[in-house]
Homo-oligomer: 223 residues x 2
DNA sequence: CTGCGTCTGTTCAGTATTGAACATGCATTT
DNA sequence: AAATGCATGTTCAATACTGAACAGACGCAG
């Protein structure tokens, strides 16, 4: 019974802390909204910590098809794909709003992991991300689009939302367009589902989305 | 343009070698066809090397829905999910035929990685698996079922097949049922697609599937 | 060589999903 | 306040997909 936070993953504190070490010399980079930090095919051999803002990770095909793999926010580390050691990115990281990141090269990062004997933590982290992706695959194969959307909303609410009675209030908006690229369906479909959810009381509001944790869980339970 | 071997992943030689070290004391286990090596919820804290046979990794829900995440064969290492350190399995590994595996506990495995200073290799391996899963997600979100099937066939042929002219001949069969759980569609659908592929010359034969690498690639290219 | 079980082939009605088009709403700029 | 631009809402015909049911083929154990 997979219940992981599909594509709204938390970063383990240890990874975050690594970026604070004096021995590292992270470069602080400010990125405009809609600008990419790295793109498919780039030779970018670094990891990033988000100081503020929001970043989406997307894969795309030559034909222009896109899929949103994950969204990261302040405190998250992303760019682990460089740990493959191929030197090339196979996805694009793009700022969803004005964002500030700290950048550390793979070599420096790994050297610091070595110095602090933190390999097992890093391995734990990667194994956990692997499990999350695996759960995402399971969801795509076995659940219908509506359910997948509910799950994604719940995941984001739990990651980004502030408690508000039985609700979780999300400050950051996610466009229907983005949601469709996460869920794997079309934009009009998302609109329809969202309306249904609103009617059923699973979510509330338009500007800031407010999610009723329990009701969404209930919806996901029912066969 | 993701082109990884979706769900037919090769194991890096270094991982395989680790299982040969004298300092490790792997337990050799013989598993009957259709028996599971570990199952969802099990407390199984080990990695496995396949000596002979074939293993499928599947995730399942309480409702009985299943999804085939990966297939591993002789020489592959699986069970990395234990590296999360939760002590519990969140997927099931099941022998598709009589299979012999070598089992090494996580602690022993990591100790050996430490002794041989091979952390970076392990990290590379995990990062690569992560990228593969990511590609699988992309495929599920952006491609239709027929294309996904073509891709899966190609991946397996390249992993398991022996060259035979322009073809790759697969000794091991994969049932339509299994394929449907990989691709995320129904069994009758797979049958239909396979017939279409046969007509178009992408594949040949019934017993042993024979795949025309080039033709399948062509099919995948065409938008 | 017979029966059994498993896998493949086939059909189909019902449903879900796509993709394209157009309409509306809501901020931001001028 | 009008104009602009972007996100959401709405519709619909065409298509893809599901799930269930049944038939045939094949391999294997008795």
């Amino acid at each position: 019974m997979p219940t992981s936070d599909t594509r709204a993953e938390a970063t383990s504190p240890f990874l975050r802390e690594l970026f604070d070490r004096d021995s590292l010399s992270p470069v602080r980079v400010r990125v405009e909204a809609q600008r990419s930090i790295y793109a498919t095919g780039d030779e970018d051999d670094a990891l990033y910590l988000i100081e503020s803002g929001q970043v989406k990770l997307l894969m795309s095909s030559a034909a222009g098809q896109e899929c949103l793999v994950a969204i990261y926010t302040a405190g998250d580390v992303f760019g682990e794909s460089c740990l493959q050691g191929t030197g090339k990115r196979n996805e694009t990281a793009s700022a969803m709003q004005a964002t500030v990141v700290r950048r550390v090269s793979r070599r420096e990062f790994l050297a610091e992991v070595y110095r602090s004997n933190a390999y097992e933590s890093l391995i734990r982290h990667l194994a956990a991300r692997l499990a999350e992706r695996q759960t995402a695959i399971f969801d795509l194969v076995t659940m219908d689009a509506e359910r997948r959307l509910a799950k994604v909303l719940l995941a984001f609410a739990e990651k980004l939302g502030a408690p508000d009675g039985p609700y979780l209030r999300m400050q950051e908006r996610i466009s229907h367009e983005d949601l469709s690229q996460i869920v794997g369906t079309t934009r009009p479909r998302i609109t329809k589902f969202m309306q249904g959810f609103r009617k059923a009381g699973l979510i509330q509001g338009k500007r800031a989305i407010v999610v009723d944790r329990e009701k969404v869980r209930e919806f996901l339970e029912q066969e």
